[in-house]
């Protein structure tokens, strides 16, 4: 496969995963803002998914409608859903012969939907959750279309590398922002809604309730979202998939490149596999998450150097 094509597939996929994560986050945050507008702030979400500095974020952090407009359809926000979907589609457009026609149509439809006028009306006047849900549905259709139409070849592998790398970074990011807001005093958030919304934003509340009895505890949340290999948004799950899809790229022709990246993925996987909530908390959760994020990004750089470099 052409290096340029691999690069575009990888980024198409990263953007779609980011889009999905972002929409989930926006939806849950909006719902949280309806619970308690005095306590609630958009600052953490804005810092996660936009390039705003503290001051700019604080300025609109009490106005949900403004935040949603900025995060969903603002052209000037390079990380708005509109711009992310546009980038995903542009990448997809340049590799149409490597994704299925169904996938291309799905990206194309999503792009045209983002440009419809009624989105801003919904965000300004009506119930934003309705429109966020229908956008999320587009993401779900994209993931489903990929699953049922794409052959399990090299294209599929690069798409999944992008997907799970982005997801791993995202979960580490969300946990870091949410936990560092508590300054290490995890019991401070006696208010259960704080934990509830954190879990909801990574679609993990239901699993949590089934797994753990007796309310919310920081240690359990860390266990589920970092270590539980069966929870699709956990860091462990992302790394495990990253390794599995990367193994498919093994080939006699690029032994050195493969080994270099495989070593990095394997090292990260082992690190998480042989951690417990106790060791993580003892070492410092924030440090652990920061390091994990750096590891993911370095894997991304290594992929870029060994597989995508074409100029």
């Amino acid at each position: 496969m052409l290096s340029r094509v691999a690069d575009s597939l990888y980024w198409m996929s990263r953007y779609m995963e980011r889009c999905d994560g972002m929409l989930r986050m926006l939806k849950i945050n909006y719902a949280a803002s309806q619970d308690d507008m005095d306590e609630f702030s958009w600052v953490p979400a804005l810092k996660l998914f936009s390039y705003m500095d503290d001051q700019e974020a604080a300025a609109i952090s009490k106005n949900s409608r403004d935040v949603l407009l900025y995060m969903v359809i603002a052209k000037e926000n390079s990380n708005s859903v509109l711009n992310i979907v546009t980038k995903a589609r542009e990448n997809g457009r340049s590799v149409q012969d490597h994704i299925t026609k169904e996938m291309w149509q799905c990206l194309n439809d999503f792009y045209h939907m983002m440009r419809e006028e009624n989105i801003s009306d919904w965000l300004k006047k009506d119930d934003p959750i309705t429109i966020l849900d229908s956008l999320l549905k587009q993401c779900t259709v994209y993931f489903g279309t990929m699953d049922v139409t794409m052959a399990r070849g090299e294209s599929h592998a690069f798409i999944n590398l992008g997907k799970f790398l982005e997801r791993g970074v995202q979960t580490a990011d969300i946990l870091d922002v949410k936990f560092s807001a508590l300054d290490g005093e995890y019991d401070k958030a006696a208010d259960t809604t704080y934990w509830k919304y954190l879990l909801l934003s990574i679609s993990g509340l239901e699993l949590y309730l089934k797994t753990y009895r007796g309310g919310f505890e920081a240690a359990n949340i860390v266990e589920q979202s970092v270590l539980n290999g069966n929870f699709p948004r956990s860091i462990m799950y992302s790394v495990k998939n990253l390794r599995q899809y990367f193994e498919r790229l093994r080939s006699d022709k690029n032994y050195t490149s493969f080994n270099e990246v495989m070593f990095m993925i394997g090292k990260l996987e082992s690190k998480i596999k042989f951690s417990t909530t106790q060791t993580i908390v003892k070492e410092g959760l924030s440090k652990f998450l920061q390091e994990t994020k750096t590891d993911f990004l370095e894997i991304g750089n290594a992929l870029n150097k060994n597989y995508f470099a074409y100029s």
Binding site: M1, L2, Q96, D97, L249, K253, N254
Partner: protein, 482 residues
């Protein structure tokens, strides 16, 4: 008889051949479609038109217009009423195009080798040497199988007497074939069952034949030669076509930056290192193909690719230097070529063409300019054209001055009244002018033409210009089996 509402406003110009009507009655080949359309209400037809638009949009059959820093997706206008060609008409067209292509191929081989046609005085020498598309780099280079024109899109028009004329030979990188394929797919969606009921011949073979021909050109005799389609990239207006063809043939779509030449061989940069390329179907013009030989500013091409080509390590399709054969001034010598190389009479006629480099002809054209269309010999797409009947006197004078500066760069033709074909316009059928571009594929096994083509239509009332850049659209083109 104008019985239904749909046909009430269908007025055919008496000097024009209409594809559907003859003496106020519907021609045989259109009868079943017209009957079918008359059963539909205006509402239903509008819905179908809408559906067609939505399908084009959602499938991304679009081109992007960049204005104020933002891309806007446009669809190439599509008229839902098919253009119908009878089996007999097609037979004539097919024979004529095959004959013409055979002669043009022989001409290209001759003009880049022994130049018998010039030595025998059939064609003036300066006609060839003054052509900017005549490339010395192609001299004495034996192209694989002696084929220069692998893919052509020859434009035909129909005069008021109903006979077909060749308007242009497009022998370089003709585009539009994806619309031939997609328009058919859209018709299948908006008019279920209509195509089989009318015994329309299929066009779906096109990518298969093209792929077969491309594979057969591989210089390496291996089981799976690497065939690529070279595109100028995402921002090219025909990008959709490039991706469609690559997908339908299952070949790699590459850009110039994906290729590299090493030791006179072409390679593509893949995730597992360099992979040798055997055949390149390029949609990049000659001028931009190799910055070492042609335009040195080109970022679309590949440095060193011409040397690899001349060494015989890679096949390039269409061959480089074909522009000398579809030059608008050389065009007028094609009938002579057919007689010279094949000893046959041309089956399809040329439109009479006046070389403005010739003083007498120029004066004749200037005194009859209102009945003439003047074209630049090296432009295409309807650019730089003068329609004598619809241009102000001042503009004509300016254009004449332009001609006198470089008369070789211009030709004139009498304005031919294109045939008209029914189009769906605001709830009724109306006649609009059309041309026809069938796509011919030439491989080691001979010339094959899929039965169909692109019908381009001038959607503005009374307009004779069908180019998409000048407000033209397209139609599905049916060739009937019986």
């Amino acid at each position: 008889m104008h019985t239904s509402e749909l046909l009430q406003q269908y007025y055919v110009d008496s000097n024009t051949w209409d594809e559907m009507y003859r003496n106020d009655s519907v021609r045989e080949q259109y009868r079943s479609v017209v009957d079918f359309l008359q059963q539909l209400s205006i509402d239903e037809l509008n819905k179908k038109e809408d559906l067609a638009k939505r399908l084009f949009m959602s499938q991304g059959i679009t081109f992007t217009v960049y204005s104020s820093g933002e891309g806007v997706e446009k669809i190439f206008p599509f008229d839902i009423i098919p253009r119908i060609i009878t089996a007999a008409e097609w037979d004539h067209i097919e024979k004529g195009i095959k004959q013409r292509l055979k002669a043009l191929n022989l001409f290209l081989k001759d003009v880049y080798h022994n130049q018998f046609i010039l030595k025998d005085g059939v064609m003036p020498v300066d006609m060839v040497y003054s052509c900017p598309h005549y490339l010395r780099v192609m001299h004495n280079f034996p192209v694989p199988h002696d084929i220069y024109v692998h893919i052509s899109g020859i434009d035909l028009i129909r005069n008021s007497d109903g006979s077909f004329y060749i308007l242009e030979d497009n022998l370089r990188t003709p585009s539009g074939v994806s619309y031939m394929l997609e328009n058919r797919e859209i018709t299948k969606r908006i008019f279920p069952d209509l195509i089989p009921a009318n015994h329309v011949r299929s066009v779906t073979e096109y990518p298969t034949i093209l792929h077969k021909n491309l594979v057969s050109l591989s210089p390496r005799q291996i089981a799976n030669p690497t065939v690529v389609l070279l595109t100028p990239g995402l921002y090219n207006s025909a990008y959709f076509e490039h991706t469609t063809l690559a997908r339908l043939m299952g070949v790699e779509l590459v850009e110039g930056r994906d290729l590299v030449v090493d030791n006179h061989k072409v390679f593509m940069k893949t995730t597992t290192g360099l992979q040798q390329v055997d055949v390149i179907y390029r949609r990049v013009d000659d001028e931009f193909l190799d910055p070492l030989i042609f335009n040195s500013n080109s970022l679309l091409g590949v440095s060193g690719i011409m040397n690899a080509y001349r060494k015989g390590n890679v096949a390039i399709v269409n061959a480089v230097g074909n522009g000398v054969a579809d030059d608008k001034a050389v065009y007028s010598y094609v009938p002579a070529m057919i007689r010279y190389y094949l000893n046959e009479e041309p089956i399809l006629k040329n439109v009479p063409t006046y070389q403005l480099a010739n003083k007498e002809k120029r004066e004749y054209v200037f005194s009859n300019i209102t009945n003439m269309v003047v074209k630049k010999t090296n432009e295409s797409g309807g650019y730089g054209m003068l329609m004598g009947n619809s241009t102000s006197e001042k503009e004509i004078e300016e254009y004449k001055a332009e001609i006198l500066k470089a008369p070789r760069q211009f030709i004139a033709q009498p304005i031919i009244s294109l045939s008209s074909s029914p189009c769906y316009m605001n709830g009724a059928l109306a006649p609009r002018r059309v041309d026809l571009r069938p796509y011919a594929l030439c491989g080691p096994d001979g010339i094959e033409i899929v039965p169909g083509g692109l019908t381009r239509v001038a959607l503005r009332e009374g307009s004779l210009v069908v180019n998409s850049s000048q407000g033209g659209g397209s139609k599905d083109t049916w060739v009937l089996a019986v």
